[in-house]
Every structure is written in C-alpha cells, then in structure tokens.
C-alpha cells in the first residue's frame, strides 16, 4: 500500500503547481476584453454559423470498434502476467479468443467500416464531385473578356434604390 504514497505526493505537487499557475496568471496578466478577441478564431473571417454540432459518423464508428480491441487488451494483461503458469493452455485459450476477435474485425473491414475518404467509383473518371472539379470551376468563373462582353460597352445602370449593382456590403453580425 505504501507504493501508492509517492504517486499521491507527486499528484499533490502537480495539482498545487497547476493551481498556483492559474492564480499567478490571474494576478499577473492584464484583462482587456474586446469583442473581436473573444470571438471564435476563423482566420479573421467573422463566423456566420455556430460551430458544427455534428461531425462525421465515422468517428463514432471508430470509437465503437476501438472498444473491441480495448476489451481484448484488458484481458491480455492478466493473461500475460500469468503466462508462465499457463503455457500451452494459455496459448490455446488466447489464440481462440484472438481468432474470434480477428474474425469479427475482418467482418467489419470487409463491410468497409474503416474506410475513410470519398466514396469511390470503379468506372469513368477518378472519384470527384463534378460540381467541384477543376474543369467545372473554370467553366463557372467567366474569363475577364467574357465579363466585358456580357456587360457591354455601356456602364451598368444604377439599381432602383440608388446603390451600385452587386451585393450590398455585408454587415458585421451583432454579438
């Protein structure tokens, strides 16, 4: 039981260090709050949506498959410690267990449970969303001379409300 004592002492020291640093920072650091500073950082762009509450379901899947192996690892440790008393029996037991886990794992893999990235197509072009391909983007964004052609030689008339054409300048979102 005494073997726990040094770890408890170190834990107490580290927690004390953490608390001291938090208090020290509170005492020493300035406090100048501004709206821009407290907004979420998105490379200088004002975020228009609250952060995604959803993320790809693959991550949940990985967490669940991880549990299979974590349970296996939990069983492995006592087995590994006792191995010198079990020998062939231990090997056979663990081999049986490992094979069962392995077959379940192979079944998961063969269902594509651990595949990442975009869905693939066998025929035609390499997998890509056509709306996002390079060719599509080039086609969608007109070249400068096309723009001049479209606009014609005359300057564009003003919009009915007096503002020049185009989208109105975006307002900063109120906090």
């Amino acid at each position: 039981m005494e073997q726990y004592l040094p770890i408890v002492l170190l834990l107490a020291l580290v927690v004390g260090f953490s608390v001291a640093s938090a208090i020290g920072s509170r005492l020493l650091a300035p406090k100048r709050r501004t709206g821009a500073k407290e907004g979420p950082y998105e490379s200088g762009i004002v975020p228009r949506y609250s952060p995604a509450a959803r993320f790809p379901v693959r991550f949940y899947l990985v967490a669940m498959i991880f549990i299979i192996f974590d349970i296996e690892v939990v069983f492995l440790y006592p087995w590994a410690v006792m191995y010198r008393q079990l020998w062939t029996f231990g090997l056979a037991e663990m081999a049986a267990f490992a094979i069962v886990v392995f077959i379940a794992f192979a079944y998961l893999v063969s269902n594509g449970a651990l595949d990442w990235g975009p869905r693939q197509r066998t025929g035609g072009r390499p997998p890509a969303d056509l709306a996002r391909s390079t060719a599509a983007t080039v086609r969608r964004v007109p070249r400068p001379e096309e723009l001049i052609e479209r606009a014609g030689p005359e300057p564009r008339p003003l919009e009915p409300d007096g503002a020049p054409g185009g989208a109105p300048p975006r307002q900063a979102q109120p906090a």
């Binding site: 005494e2 073997q3 726990y4 004592l5 040094p6 770890i7 020291l13 580290v14 260090f17 640093s21 938090a22 920072s25 020493l28 406090k31 100048r32 407290e38 979420p40 950082y41 998105e42 490379s43 975020p47 609250s50 952060p51 995604a52 993320f55 693959r58 991550f59 990985v62 967490a63 498959i65 991880f66 192996f69 974590d70 296996e72 690892v73 440790y77 590994a80 410690v81 191995y83 231990g90 090997l91 663990m94 490992a98 392995f102 794992f105 079944y107 893999v109 063969s110 269902n111 594509g112 651990l114 595949d115 990442w116 990235g117 693939q120 066998t122 025929g123 035609g124 072009r125 906090a175």
Partner: protein, 389 residues
C-alpha cells in the same frame, strides 16, 4: 519486491526521502521539457540548415524559459461562446497525467541515505505499466474537452480527429506493451528492467521480441503523442491550430508543456520497456545506470526530432488505414507469435503459420471492404452528361 525504503515503516527519514524524490522527479520533468523544447528547435533548425533561436541566454538555451515566462504575463481570456468551466479545466486535465507519469520510470540502481536504501525511481507499484497506459489514455480527455468547449470549428475538428487517432493507436500501444509484459511476466517496471539486465543489447526486449513489436510500438507512441508525421491534430494548413486554437496565456503554455512532458516521459518508457532502462556496460567496475539511462533517453529524443524534420505528414485516411488495417492486426499476430516462441520453437512456428493464414484472411477482407464503399460500377452517369453538353 517494491521499494526497499518502506521496509521499516514510515519514519520521518522515509518521509523526507520521499519528499526529496518527489520534488526531484518534478524538477527533472520540468527541466527536461525546457531542455527538450530548445533541443528540438535547435536540431530541427540545423537539419533545415538554419540557426534556430540563439538570442536568449547562452546560445539561445534560455529561449523556452523566456517564452514560458512571457506567456504567464499574457491575458487569459475565455471566448464568448465557450463552455467556461470545461474550457478552463481542460489544459490541467492534460497537464496532470503528463507530469505524474514519470513517477514509475526506473532511472537505475539504488542509493543508501542514512541507512535507508531506496530505488532511483519515485514509485515502484506492482501495476507500473498500467499506470503508463492510464497516463497516455487520460490525455485524450484533455484534448477532446479542450476542442469541444472552445466552440470553434477548427478546434472541434482538431479534437475529433485527435480523439479518433489517439484511441486507434492506443490499441496498438496496449497490444505491443502486452508483448513486453508477456516476456517479463510482471507489470512492475523495475522487474521489466531487471529482466533485461546483463548482456549488453542481447537481452534487451527490442532484440528479445524480434524487433517487430518495438517498431509497432514506436509508430503507435508517435501517433499517440500526435508528433509528426502523425500531427494531423494541429495540421496548420487545414486546422490552423487544432484543439488548442482558442487558448492563450498559461493555458496554452500548459498544452505545450504537457505535449513535451509526454514526449520525454514516453521516450523514457521506450528506454525502459525496450532498451533495458539503465542497463549498460560497467565502467571500472562501477554500475553507472543513470548515465546510460539518460544517454539512451537523449538518443531516443533525437530520433523523434529527426523524424519530425524528415517525414511529411500523412493524410487522415492513410493514418486510419495504417493504424487499423496494418498495425493492429500485426501487433495481435506478433503477440501470439512471441507467446508461441515462449513455450518452444515448434509452437512458435505454429503461431507464425496461423498468423500468416489470418493475415491472408484480412488481406481478402480489406479487398472486399474497398468494394463495399464503391457506389456503382460502370461509367459515371454525370461524366456522360457532361460529355453531351
């Protein structure tokens, strides 16, 4: 068994020894973090034909101390949308396990102070290896809570990526560490070191378990620490900072500190588990365990820096594919092979044969799995549509 200092009960001298040892381990970890940050920056700079920091202190060696002090004086604000409590606690959830894990690392030998013999190791519990796995497992909580509580897109993505990556490679870590436990028959770190003692290199676990488990362990622990080339968690080009993007001041400093403390501690675990810990040739009849321990630690740390300077980052699907479809099955099969060879050669070859069969099954399963996510065969209808236009 265990630290002999407790043989005569808890006297005042024992308490003093424990306190000195506790403070010493704490200082060793903190100083080695300060050192490591500089060591890495210097080495990466030289590998990239640059000078690296060379202004603060002699040759710039006080730069990390200066950075840390500066961060203490910076404003520690909380983003408006953040979950305040979790946001403030998350860095400490990462800091504490990173700093206490070093407690079970045997630095080598025993010393006698005032008739009290004690090991050069803070704690020697019978569950030492589990403590190591616990420390690396708890780090996931700091990462995911930090990323989630910041309520920012980049930090959430970084945290989700980080947690999936860390748990994926934790399985490999557990399986390969079990190989060491298997050949030692004990979870106690001092027993693991003692079992590798005598016979320079030959008895070390890295050779004793045929190199492959060590290679898997090294990859897994690199990914577990999210070190390059597995640093997708903070991929600058995609996430700009990952889970710690909203942090500033000491909170940020503690993320940084715990990252490097984990690096130093995990390198110490690599030395302990695979490279015989303080084992090494005696010089003029004296055992100089701590010297060998720190020399090995320095070499391992340099290899981590070297890897960072050399290898480009993986893509996320490559990372998951490597972890799940290559490393985990390989670690599992290798564990059974080592277990077979522990009995005798015949069982070892039986295990290799069975392992090859299972590897073949998995090979086929991976192939089938690729087919499962293919939507349809034949030419893409949208391609045909485009051709018509």
């Amino acid at each position: 068994m265990g630290d002999p200092v407790f043989a005569h009960g808890l006297t005042l001298a024992v308490w003093l020894i424990l306190l000195v040892k506790t403070v010493a381990v704490f200082v060793i970890v903190l100083v080695s973090v300060l050192f490591m940050v500089m060591y890495e920056r210097k080495a990466v700079a030289r590998l990239g034909v640059r000078w690296g920091p060379n202004r603060a202190g002699p040759n710039g060696w006080l730069q990390s101390l200066a950075d840390g002090t500066k961060l203490l004086f910076k404003e520690a604000f909380t983003p408006r949308s953040a979950d305040r409590l979790v946001y403030k606690v998350a860095p400490y959830l990462m800091l504490v396990p990173a700093l206490i894990a070093f407690a079970i690392v045997p630095i080598g030998g025993t010393v006698t102070v005032a008739h009290n013999t004690t090991e050069l190791q803070l704690a020697d519990p019978p569950w030492g290896i589990l403590f190591m796995l616990m420390a690396s497992g708890l780090a996931v909580y700091g990462v995911i809570l930090a990323g989630w509580s910041s309520r920012s897109k980049y930090s959430l993505l970084g945290a989700v990526r980080a947690s999936a990556q860390m748990i994926s490679y934790e399985a490999v870590l557990g399986l390969t560490t079990a190989t060491v436990v298997l050949v030692t028959g004990s979870l106690r770190t001092s027993s693991i070191v003692a079992a590798q003692h005598g016979g320079f290199l030959y008895h070390w676990n890295v050779i004793h378990t045929a190199l492959i488990p060590f290679a898997l362990f090294a990859v897994a622990i690199t990914a577990e620490m999210t070190r390059p080339p597995f640093d997708l968690v903070e991929a600058e080009e995609e996430l700009s900072g990952g889970y710690m993007i909203e942090y500033a001041s000491v909170d940020f400093a503690w993320f940084y500190l715990s990252e490097y403390a984990a690096l130093v501690t995990n390198s110490a675990f690599i030395v302990t588990l695979w490279f015989g810990g303080p084992d090494g040739p005696r010089i003029t009849g004296h055992s100089i365990g701590p010297f060998w321990f720190f020399l090995k630690l320095l070499i391992i740390l340099f290899v981590f820096v070297w890897i960072r300077a050399t290898l480009p980052r993986l893509r996320y699907d490559q990372l998951m594919e490597l972890g799940w479809k290559r490393l985990i099955p390989a670690a599992l099969i290798m564990l059974m092979v080592v277990a077979g060879f522990q009995i005798n050669r015949e069982w070892g070859f039986v295990a290799i044969g069975a392992g090859l069969v299972l590897a073949g099954v998995l090979w086929r399963a991976i192939d089938v799995g690729r087919g499962a996510t293919v939507v349809e065969s034949g030419p893409d209808p949208r391609v045909a549509q485009e051709a018509e236009q």
